[in-house]
C-alpha cells in the first residue's frame, strides 16, 4: 500500500458536508491499496461539482467540457493503452448532456472506469432537476414538481451489456473503496454510480434518506451478478430499497483489441517511416 498523502492536491472548494468528500477519501484509499501512482493514472472530467474531483487529487488530469469526458477518455485510451483511465462525471453531466457518449461507451467497451457522482440534482447551477431527480421533487425551475420519472441508467447499462455495473454510497466509505478497486481492476468499461448526497440543493435525498434504504446486495441470498435477468431487476430496484454493490458483470472484448496497431505501444512513442514515393504508389 502507498501512503495516502501521495495523492494530496489543492484544497477542495465543495460545501462542507458534501458527499464528494467521502468519495475523494475512498478513491485515494483505493488508489493507494492498488498501488497506482499519481503519474500513472489519468482522471478525466467534464463540468459540475463532481468534475472538480481530479483537481483535488494528485493525478494526471484532463478537466474538459460539460458532458464530454467520455470521448476525451476514449481518445486517451486509444492513444495510450498503458494509462489507467478514470472518468468522474455527474448525473446531469453524463446522463443529460453526455447521453450519446454513454450509449457509445456501452458498445465500445473501452478499458476505463466511469464514476457517476449521482446527487439527483444540478448543484453547480444551484438546484435544477437532473435526469435522476425523483418524480414530483420541487425545484426552483420545477416549482410544481418534476413531471417525469427518473432515468434508470443502471438498467440501461445492463440491457446494453455494459461489462461491469455497480452502485456505491458516499455514506459507506469502506464498501465504496472496495467498489472503486473492483471497477478499476475490471478489464473493460465499468460504470460505477455513487449515491452522493448534495447537502445544499437536495433536501430530499439526504444522507439519512439513503441510509435508511440502501443495502449491500452481495449479502442477499440469490446474489447472481452474472445473470442478466437478475441484474436487470436489481438495477431497476429504487424507492423503498436501493441495492449497493456489483450488480452486473459480463466479460466482453475491449475496444482496444480492435486496434492491432496498438501493440506497438503508446502512439506518442511510435517511430514513423512513411516515404512519400511509397505513399504515391496507389495513384499511378
Amino acid at each position: 500500500m502507498l501512503p495516502l498523502d501521495l495523492y494530496n492536491s489543492i484544497e477542495p472548494a465543495w460545501c462542507p458536508g458534501c458527499g464528494n468528500f467521502p468519495m475523494l477519501k475512498a478513491f485515494k484509499k483505493a488508489l493507494a491499496e492498488l498501488e497506482i501512482r499519481p503519474e500513472n493514472i489519468l482522471v478525466i472530467s467534464g463540468i459540475g461539482q463532481s468534475s472538480k474531483f481530479p483537481h483535488y487529487l494528485r493525478c494526471n488530469t484532463f478537466n474538459g467540457i460539460h458532458g464530454r469526458a467520455l470521448p476525451v477518455a476514449t481518445g486517451a485510451r486509444l492513444a495510450n493503452p498503458n494509462l489507467k483511465v478514470v472518468v468522474t462525471a455527474g448525473d446531469g453531466d453524463q446522463y443529460g448532456e453526455g447521453g450519446n457518449h454513454l450509449l457509445a461507451a456501452f458498445r465500445r467497451n473501452p478499458d476505463l472506469t466511469l464514476v457517476i457522482h449521482n446527487n439527483q440534482i444540478y448543484a453547480l447551477t444551484k438546484g435544477q432537476a437532473s435526469p435522476t431527480t425523483d418524480q414530483g421533487t420541487k425545484t426552483l425551475m420545477q416549482p410544481a414538481g418534476v413531471p417525469y420519472p427518473p432515468l434508470h441508467a443502471l438498467a440501461l447499462a445492463v440491457a446494453q451489456d455494459c461489462s461491469w455495473v455497480g452502485r456505491g454510497f458516499a455514506g459507506d466509505g469502506e464498501h465504496l473503496t472496495g467498489l472503486y478497486k473492483q471497477a478499476m481492476e475490471h478489464r473493460g468499461f465499468a460504470l460505477l454510480e455513487v449515491l452522493q448526497p448534495c447537502v445544499t440543493f437536495n433536501r430530499v435525498n439526504t444522507f439519512k434518506w439513503y441510509q435508511s434504504r440502501v443495502y449491500r446486495v452481495e449479502e442477499e441470498p440469490g446474489y447472481d451478478p452474472e445473470n442478466e435477468l437478475w441484474a436487470y431487476q436489481k438495477a431497476k430496484e429504487w424507492g423503498e430499497r436501493i441495492p449497493l454493490g456489483v450488480i452486473f458483470k459480463k466479460p466482453r472484448p475491449i475496444m482496444e483489441e480492435a486496434f492491432p496497431a496498438m501493440a506497438k505501444g503508446p502512439l506518442g512513442t511510435w517511430r514513423l517511416d512513411r516515404p512519400v514515393a511509397e505513399l504515391l504508389k496507389d495513384f499511378y
Partner: protein
C-alpha cells in the same frame, strides 16, 4: 494548337457513370495526357442525375471548363440536359437501350448491350466498357492500356466479367475509330516520368500521413467523408488509429483526448458538423491541446446543398468558439498544396498547441488532377514528441515569452500533467484569481506572433506589372489561374494573388503583392465576399469588383471571364 477536350459522362446514380470515368481517366493519364476530372452529383444513392467531366489535354490542366466535346449519355435525361453544351465538332455516345429519342442535329454513336456484346448477359458492362473503348477510338489512343486497367479493376469478379470488359472495350474501340478523325490525342508523347491522378482530399491525406498523423476520427458527412476514407484505406499499411465517432461533438473531444495522451491527431466535418464541434475548439485552445480540424465546405445554411461546393465557411471558421484565442486557418488551392498543408497543419498545431483548421470543399475533395512525384517533395520527419522527466515540479502552463509551454505526456514520465477548460494557474488547476486570468489569456494570445511568422506563402501567377489583379483563396485557385492566363493571351494582362494561409492573415505579403494594382477583383464562392471583408479588415484594401458564385458549382474560367465583363 493545344488539344483540350471535355468528355461529359452522365446518367442516373448507380448506372455506371463512375465505372466509365475511373478506367477511362486513368488510361488517358497512363497514355501521357493531362487529365482533370470533376464530379457533379445529387444527394441520393440511386437515380437522380449525376455526371462527371473528364477534361483531357496535351497541356497541364488546373481546373474544369464548360462545354462538352464528347457526351456519353446513359439515359434520356443526360441527352436532354447536356446536348445543348455539345460543341460543333462534338459527338454524343448514347445507350440506345435507355435513350428513347436518339439525339438529332448532332453527330452520334449508339451503343447497347446487344450491339456491343450480343448474346451475352453482360448488360451495363457492355455499355460501360464499350463507351470507354469508343472514346479511345475517337481519340485514336490505343485501347490496350484500357484493357489492362479493366483487367486490374475487375480481376476479382471472375473470368467471365473480365472477358466481357475486354471484349466490350475492344469492340467499342472499333466503333469509335470508325467515326473518323475529329479529335486526336495520338500525338501525345509518353511523359519522361509517370504521371499520377489524385484528388484534393487524397493528396491532403498523404500530407497528413507524411506529417506524422497517428490518429484520426470523425463522423460521416459529405464532403468531409472522403478524407476520412482516404486515411482509413491506408491505416493498416501506415499504422493510423481510425475511429468513427458517435457524433461530431465526440469526434473533436476524442481527438483532443488522444492528442493530450500523445497522438498526432486530425478530425474533420462539414459546416453543419462543425457547428457541433465549436465548443471543442475552445477546449483545445484553452487546454492548449494540439488538434487539426478539417472543415470541408458545402453550401448552407443548415443542410443546404449536401453534395455541392462552397467557400462559405471562412467567416465561421475564423471566429468559431468563445472569446479570443490563437488559431491558424489554411486552405489549399491545389492537391499539391493540399499535401503540404496536411503536414504543415499538424506541425503548427503541435508547435503552438492550439487548434489549426484546414478549409476544403466538395470541389477540392472530389476533383482529380494530373501530377507527378515532383509535386510531392519529401517532408522532414515529424519532430518527436517531448519525452522524459522534468521532475515532479512540472507545470503544464508554465509562463513563457512566446506563449508556448513545454508539453509532457501523461503516463510517460514523472510529470503530473493537469489540463483544464477553466481558467487555470500554471499548474493547470482552476482559478478565480483575475490577475492570473489576464496573465494566462495573454500567454495564449502571445502564440499569434509565432503563428504570424509561419504565414505568408502566397501563390501568384500572370503578369505582376498588370494593372488588373484578381485575389482569391482556397480551391478557386485553378479556375482563377486559367482565367488570368486566358486574359493575358487575349491582350489583357492580369495578375493573380492566391491566399492559402488565411489566419493569421498575411497582410504585409498581400499588400506588397498588390502594390501595382489599379483594379482589384475579388473572387470567391460565397455570396457576401468573406475574404473581401478579411482583406479590408487586415489591410484596408477594398476590391473594385467582386465575382462571386454560390449556386453550388465550382468556378470555371468561362464564368470568371463573363464576370469580368459584368455578365456573371
Amino acid at each position: 494548337m493545344a488539344t483540350d477536350l471535355n468528355i461529359l459522362i452522365g446518367g442516373a446514380a448507380g448506372q455506371g457513370v463512375h465505372a466509365i470515368t475511373g478506367p477511362l481517366a486513368k488510361a488517358l493519364v497512363r497514355h501521357g495526357c493531362h487529365v482533370q476530372v470533376s464530379q457533379s452529383y445529387e444527394s441520393r444513392i440511386r437515380g437522380g442525375h449525376l455526371f462527371n467531366v473528364i477534361r483531357v489535354s496535351d497541356q497541364p490542366l488546373l481546373c474544369p471548363r464548360e462545354g462538352a466535346d464528347i457526351l456519353v449519355a446513359l439515359n434520356q435525361e443526360t441527352v436532354t440536359l447536356h446536348q445543348p453544351e455539345v460543341s460543333a465538332a462534338g459527338i454524343v455516345i448514347f445507350d440506345e437501350s435507355q435513350v428513347k429519342e436518339a439525339p438529332s442535329g448532332v453527330k452520334s454513336l449508339a451503343l447497347s448491350p446487344d450491339t456491343v456484346l450480343p448474346e451475352t448477359q453482360a448488360g451495363d458492362i457492355a455499355v460501360n466498357a464499350g463507351a470507354c473503348g469508343a472514346i479511345l477510338g475517337l481519340l485514336q489512343v490505343p485501347v490496350d492500356g484500357l484493357v489492362a486497367l479493366l483487367e486490374e479493376t475487375f480481376g476479382g469478379k471472375g473470368a467471365e466479367v473480365v472477358a466481357w470488359n475486354r471484349e466490350a472495350a475492344r469492340h467499342g474501340f472499333e466503333m469509335g475509330k470508325a467515326q473518323g478523325k475529329s479529335f486526336s490525342l495520338a500525338g501525345v508523347a509518353k511523359p519522361p516520368e509517370p504521371r499520377l491522378l489524385i484528388s484534393g482530399h487524397e493528396a491532403l491525406a498523404l500530407g497528413a500521413l507524411a506529417g506524422g498523423l497517428t490518429f484520426i476520427c470523425g463522423y460521416p458527412m459529405t464532403p468531409w467523408t472522403s478524407l476520412l476514407n482516404a486515411v482509413s484505406l491506408r491505416a493498416g499499411r501506415w499504422q493510423v488509429v481510425v475511429e468513427q465517432a458517435e457524433d461530431e461533438i465526440a469526434a473533436i473531444n476524442m481527438a483532443i483526448g488522444a492528442s493530450f495522451a500523445g497522438a498526432r491527431v486530425m478530425t474533420g466535418t462539414a459546416g453543419g458538423g462543425f457547428c457541433l464541434m465549436t465548443e471543442g475548439v475552445g477546449l483545445a485552445a484553452m487546454s492548449e491541446t494540439p488538434v487539426v480540424v478539417v472543415v470541408s465546405q458545402r453550401p448552407g445554411p443548415s443542410t443546404g446543398l449536401p453534395t455541392r461546393t462552397s467557400q462559405g465557411d471562412l467567416g465561421f471558421v475564423l471566429h468559431a468558439g468563445q472569446d479570443d484565442f490563437p488559431r491558424a486557418v489554411l486552405a489549399p488551392g491545389t492537391p499539391a498544396q493540399g499535401y503540404l498543408v496536411g503536414a504543415k497543419a499538424l506541425r503548427l498545431a503541435e508547435q503552438y498547441q492550439t487548434p489549426v483548421f484546414i478549409l476544403t470543399d466538395q470541389y477540392f475533395a472530389d476533383a482529380q488532377f494530373t501530377l507527378t512525384a515532383q509535386d510531392f517533395p519529401a517532408l522532414k520527419a515529424p519532430q518527436e514528441l517531448p519525452q522524459g522527466a522534468t521532475g515532479d515540479k512540472y507545470l503544464r502552463y508554465a509562463p513563457s515569452e512566446d506563449g508556448v509551454s513545454a508539453r509532457r505526456l501523461p503516463g510517460e514520465g514523472m510529470e503530473i500533467v493537469v489540463a483544464d477548460s477553466d481558467e487555470h494557474t500554471p499548474d493547470g488547476h482552476l482559478t478565480e484569481d483575475l490577475a492570473v486570468r489576464i496573465k494566462m489569456h495573454d500567454k495564449r494570445l502571445a502564440k499569434l506572433k509565432g503563428l504570424s511568422r509561419e504565414m505568408g506563402n502566397l501563390t501568384t501567377a500572370g503578369d505582376p506589372a498588370a494593372p488588373l489583379a484578381i485575389i482569391t483563396w482556397g480551391s478557386s485557385y485553378g479556375p482563377a489561374a486559367e482565367a488570368a492566363a486566358r486574359l493575358g493571351q487575349n491582350g489583357t494582362p492580369a495578375w493573380l494573388v492566391h491566399v492559402s494561409e488565411l489566419w493569421p492573415f498575411p497582410g504585409e505579403a498581400v499588400t506588397q503583392a498588390l502594390q501595382g494594382t489599379k483594379k482589384l477583383i475579388l473572387l470567391e464562392a460565397n455570396a457576401t465576399g468573406q475574404l473581401g471583408r478579411l482583406l479590408r479588415q487586415e489591410t484596408g484594401l477594398k476590391a473594385d469588383q467582386s465575382i462571386l458564385r454560390y449556386d453550388g458549382l465550382p468556378f470555371t474560367p468561362e464564368y470568371i471571364l463573363r464576370g469580368l465583363k459584368g455578365e456573371a
